[in-house]
Every structure is written in C-alpha cells, then in structure tokens.
Symmetry: C2
Subunit: 182 residues, 2 copies
Amino acid sequence: MSKVDRRIAKSQVAIKNAVTELLGEKSFDDITIQDIADRANVNRGTIYLHYTDKYDLLDKMIEEHMDNLRELCQSAADLTFQEGNYVWYEYFERHYLFFSTMLASKGAPYFRSRFLELVIEEFKADVDTTKGKNQGLSEEVILQFFGSAVVGAVEWWFKNGMPLPARVMAEQTGALLDRNLE
Amino acid sequence: MSKVDRRIAKSQVAIKNAVTELLGEKSFDDITIQDIADRANVNRGTIYLHYTDKYDLLDKMIEEHMDNLRELCQSAADLTFQEGNYVWYEYFERHYLFFSTMLASKGAPYFRSRFLELVIEEFKADVDTTKGKNQGLSEEVILQFFGSAVVGAVEWWFKNGMPLPARVMAEQTGALLDRNLE
DNA sequence: TACAATTCGGTCATTACTCAACAAATCAAT
DNA sequence: ATTGATTTGTTGAGTAATGACCGAATTGTA
C-alpha cells in the first residue's frame, strides 16, 4: 500500500466527516456540494478533485464502511457469533449517525441492498449444508434468510433509536445465529 | 484584511492546537518540532514555512492570545470591572491548558511579563490621577500596583488548579478594582 | 569516550489545493 | 412561461504543502 499523500488523506476525511455531520441535520438530497465544502473547510473544487458528484461521494463512503465491516469480520473470524456481532454493533454505535440516516432516508433501499450483500458474503463461510441441522437445505435460501434477518434486526435497532444496548443486541442476534447455523 | 489562504489558516491552527495539546503532556523544552508536526498531522517542513523555530512559534501563540484578550477588552469596554473580568476569566478557562502551562513552566517569567504588559496597557484608560481617590498619586505606580495584582491573582488561580469558579474570581477581583480605580 | 540515533534546519521537484471566473443546469415563485 | 437566484461542474494561474533528501548538531547510552 503505497501511502497516500497526507493532503489527500486529510481532505478526504474532512469531506467525509462533513457529510456525516450534515446527514444529522438535513436529508442527503438537501445537502449541496457547497454545504459540504463549507463544513469540511475545503474549497468546493477540491471535492470535485476526488469525487464526480455527491452521489459518488456517498457511494465511496458506503464502500468504506463496508470495507471496515469486512475488516472487522477478518479480525473476529475465530470469535463466536455473539462476540463477533458485538464488534459489529460497536461499529454501528460509533457511526450511528451515518447508518441510521442511511437506513431511514430516501436512498435506504439501495443502502440496504449493499448491506445485505455484505452480510450474505460474510456468512458464506459459516454455512454448511452438507451436515448438521442445515443438511439438505439450499445454501442460497439459508443465506438470504439469515442475511435478511440480521439486516432487519439492525434496521429495527436504528429506526427505534437504539432502544437496547449494543451488547444486548449482539448477544441476542448472536444466540439466534448460533442456534441456526453451524 | 486581505483574507489569508485557507491552507495557511488550517495549517496554522493545526500547528497551534498541537502545541497546546502537547503542553498538557510534556514541558515545552521537551517538545520537538517533529512532535508538533506529528500531532498537527502536517509535514515538518510546513512548520518551518510559518515559523523560524519552536520558540518563534510559541511567541506567535502568546501574541495571538494577547491580541484576543485585547479584543475582548474592546468589546467589553462599557462593562463594569466585574463583568469585564468575567469575560477574561472565561477566556482563561477555555484556554486553561495554555495559560496554566505558561505560568508554571520555565519560561513563565517571560510570559508573565508579556501578560503584565498587556494588563497595564489596558488599564491605562481606566486610571485617573487628576481627580477621585487616586488624585495626586503616580499613574506609573498605580498601573504597576494593580497590574501586578491582577496578574498575581490569575497566577494563583492557575497554580492552585482553579479552586474557585471563574465567575467568583471575576467578581472578587472586579470588586477590588472597582474599589480602587473607577 | 565513542557510537548510534534523533533532531535540526534547510533545499528541491512534484503535487494538491486555492481562488476566481465561467457557462450551463436546476430551482422558486410569480 | 419568464425571470432571478442558486447550484453545478470545469477551467487556469498561482500558491502552499508534501516527501525526500542532505549535512550538521544534539542527544542518549553502551
């Protein structure tokens, strides 16, 4: 990984943080490039230097979060579902502004599908239809079934203002997964 | 005021904030330019672009604080000593890391004299030796006397971990000044 | 004391950012 | 529909910041 120029790194985090902040104040459609530039304390042109438009920017942000979640999965590969889930829920909590907005806003369906895609991808290694309780079932069905379940639980959590602690969410969804996979 | 380039402004606040942060962790002499660059997330060379060395940097920081205090005096010109003092003490509180370090460290005598100089300068407009209770006294003496008093009070406040609320410090030193100047 | 490792200042070519200006597109509201 | 205002996306010239490299000075420690 040839290290990126410090200026690029700084500009990009400033821009992304600005978007996250603004998402807590108004809907994404109402956010202008100028808003982002002002908040990030960056020239408007600088944004175009890194992203084609604000949708591309949001996309890159989503991509980054997905990468981070994937990363967390790697480092938590040998943990139980409950422990592993907790790592995720901690991440959600730390970035709740982004995730809750993404799951509530107009673009939610798109974000939801990206999220589901990731969950399914990460579940693949954990599903075994050759033996155990899922023997004979379709892997496709299993993945869609429990992937949707996890995404739905997260969705519920955010839409209801995170009524349960991350720890509890992780334990309960973890238990449900343990019971059904492996 | 021809507005400064945004990059310059950003670099300088990052650098100054870095110094203030580091002052809370180690003495100024132990802080290297590299430390500051790392903390500010700025190339080491950038610091030399704005300051000749770390002493020049510290000097510019002191200068800026003095300017800010002067500014506060302007905007509080028609307040009582108690109210005006409160504005200052609020500022001290907000920048306690910087001031308490400056007044405790090895360079304290220098900083103290700069500070005293400012206080005396700002008192000049308030001292009248032609009438009232200070009639016949030497303006020089009055200024040195109460200037030192104010600085000493602030010094005590910081060295003892700000044992009284800013509000109280302002009221009490304000009352003492009201009683003697006016 | 001698040695190694930092830190210091400074230079340099390259790169990213800034600012101002621009035309085109979009929006608001009569 | 027609204006007027805002936002957009792009451009170009100028500037600041970067990373790398350098020899010299300072530091720490074996």
